[in-house]
């Protein structure tokens, strides 16, 4: 595309099919003990 650069190819809607295994890290256990940040967690299955 001439006017657009898309940064990611993974679509959130596609994770409905395979997601939800629940093995990934609980967000509060990492580095935020006071503000919930989930979007930056890593998927256990893409490690």
């Amino acid at each position: 595309m001439k006017h657009v650069k898309t940064l990611n190819t993974r679509k959130l809607q596609n994770t409905i099919k395979k997601g939800g295994c629940g093995e990934c890290q609980t967000s509060c256990q990492s580095a935020c003990k006071t503000s919930c940040t989930v979007g930056n967690q890593t998927c256990e299955n893409t490690k």
Binding site: L12, C36, V38, N40
Partner: protein, 453 residues
């Protein structure tokens, strides 16, 4: 839902429901807000004073293509999915163990009131800790990875119990085919070679509490006699971070109304050599003098912008560091289910007091209304669990219209409760800061991607 903004010279478009992020030129940036309410002819008519008609036509074509590919103007089809997902049986997979309700510092913003959580000082016994691990294993269903954070107060005040519980966990994980991930949160005062060596062998992550510049840290993190902790902890933390090869740890700080220029503190930590940094806004009652106020927001937004721009610069010069709240994994980020279910407090994540009582998370410990049960009998107050289980972005009015809902997943229940007396609300100042952080984090990714070209 589409969110578009300009930051650090980039035009950024976030398609909220697909998670797609586009960096666009000015003409596409101006076409997008008109897209859903205007015909192609009307768009051209509206923009032709500013752009060539052929350019507008090209932009329209590209926007149409993105929409067709379901990476722009994607519909939100997750609400029914979250209902199904939430019907699954609850498992517990993470515990915050309050190894010590006592502390050797007297941090002024401590929600645990010098480690005591509005109660008496106490250390968790090995017996209680063991029961907590047994409870976790017994309630974890088919989850294999189980997380246990040694928290406090200050857990190094009771470190022998930490060591013994890790040994017990390692023995039990083999029997039950589980994998324990232990973490430690410490203020560093008692940190020594023995603790570091043990932690490097056993702890998947360590959180090292430090607020940044000496005067900032020492103002909020003094000893009980009033003297500062910075000089004692900095060399230990530096050694600890190096001994972990600058990975799997966070130098973690809190900023307050007293250091609204907190980007300086983040950069100070980076200049001290820390590569993994997390500095976040204080959680306080609005009557506290150190609480963040609404009028502080413009300055805090500027600080996040400044920090993000500086991180882009440092990335280019090879002096980069990680800032937890700007981390976004564009290719391997969490699935929708994770983004919808949030931090898991009160359901898959529970806090355990030194006496073995269960609470939805460390922030609720000491508030008897949120007592959920204990490690011997398990969760007996299932009403609280169900209330937390029902707490997601579709249950919160404010989240439904928010572009950041799949990044914060509805925010911190404790924050919401502190400000509104209800976990199904959202803490507005926290939301404003969260949105800003998401914007900055995406900008950094845009800068990195375009730099690689």
């Amino acid at each position: 839902m589409v969110h578009q903004y300009k930051n650090n010279g980039y035009n950024i478009v976030l398609d909220v429901n697909s998670g797609a992020i586009h960096v666009v030129d000015d003409v596409v940036y101006d076409v997008i807000p008109l897209w859903e309410t205007h015909s192609k002819e009307e768009i051209i008519e509206k923009l032709k004073a500013e752009y060539k008609e052929s350019e507008i036509a090209e932009a329209i074509e590209e926007v149409a293509e993105l929409e067709k590919d379901e990476v722009l103007f994607t519909k939100d089809e997750y609400e029914d999915y979250v209902i199904d997902f939430k019907k699954r049986p609850t498992v517990v997979k993470a515990l915050c163990l309050h190894i010590a309700h006592d502390c050797n510092l007297a941090c002024r913003y401590c929600f645990a009131e010098e480690g005591e959580y509005h109660g008496r000082r106490a250390l968790m016994s090995y017996e209680v800790g063991k029961k907590a691990l047994d409870f976790l294993i017994a309630n974890s269903g088919n989850r294999r990875n189980l997380e246990v954070d040694f928290f406090g107060g200050e857990p190094t005040l009771n470190f022998q119990v930490v060591k013994d519980l890790v040994a017990y966990g390692r023995e039990q994980e083999k029997i039950h085919n589980k994998n324990f991930r232990f973490t430690l949160t410490t203020n560093g005062v008692l940190l020594n070679d023995d603790i570091m060596e043990f932690a490097n062998k056993e702890m998947a992550n360590v959180v090292l509490s430090i607020d940044g510049r000496k005067e900032v840290n020492d103002r909020m993190r003094p000893f009980r006699n009033g003297s500062g902790s910075y000089d004692l902890i900095v060399p230990k933390f530096q050694k600890f971070a190096d001994s972990r090869n600058q990975t799997n740890y966070y130098a973690r700080g809190t900023f307050t109304h007293f250091n609204l220029d907190f980007a300086e503190d983040v950069l100070h930590l980076a200049d001290l050599g820390f590569k993994q940094i997390s500095v976040e806004p204080v959680v306080a009652q609005d009557t506290d003098e150190y609480a963040i106020r609404e009028e502080d927001l413009p300055q805090l937004f500027d600080e996040y912008d400044k920090l993000a721009a500086e991180m882009v610069k440092r990335h280019k010069s090879g002096e980069d560091f990680n800032f937890f709240h700007f981390m976004i994994d564009l290719e391997g980020g969490p699935c929708v289910a994770k983004r919808l279910s949030g931090c898991g407090s009160g359901t898959e994540y529970l806090a355990v007091t030194p006496w073995g009582d269960l609470y939805p998370c460390h922030q609720f410990v000491g508030n008897e209304k949120f007592y959920m049960g204990n490690v011997t009998e398990g969760v007996t107050n299932t009403q609280i669990r169900d209330e937390f289980k029902s707490c997601n972005v579709y249950a919160k009015e404010k989240c439904r219209e928010c572009f950041a809902r799949f990044y914060c997943s509805g925010g911190c229940a404790a924050n919401s409760y502190n400000f509104h007396g209800d976990i199904h609300n959202a803490y507005d100042i926290g939301c404003a800061l969260q949105k800003k952080r998401v914007e900055c984090a995406i900008m950094i990714k845009a800068a990195e991607a375009l730099e690689e070209e």
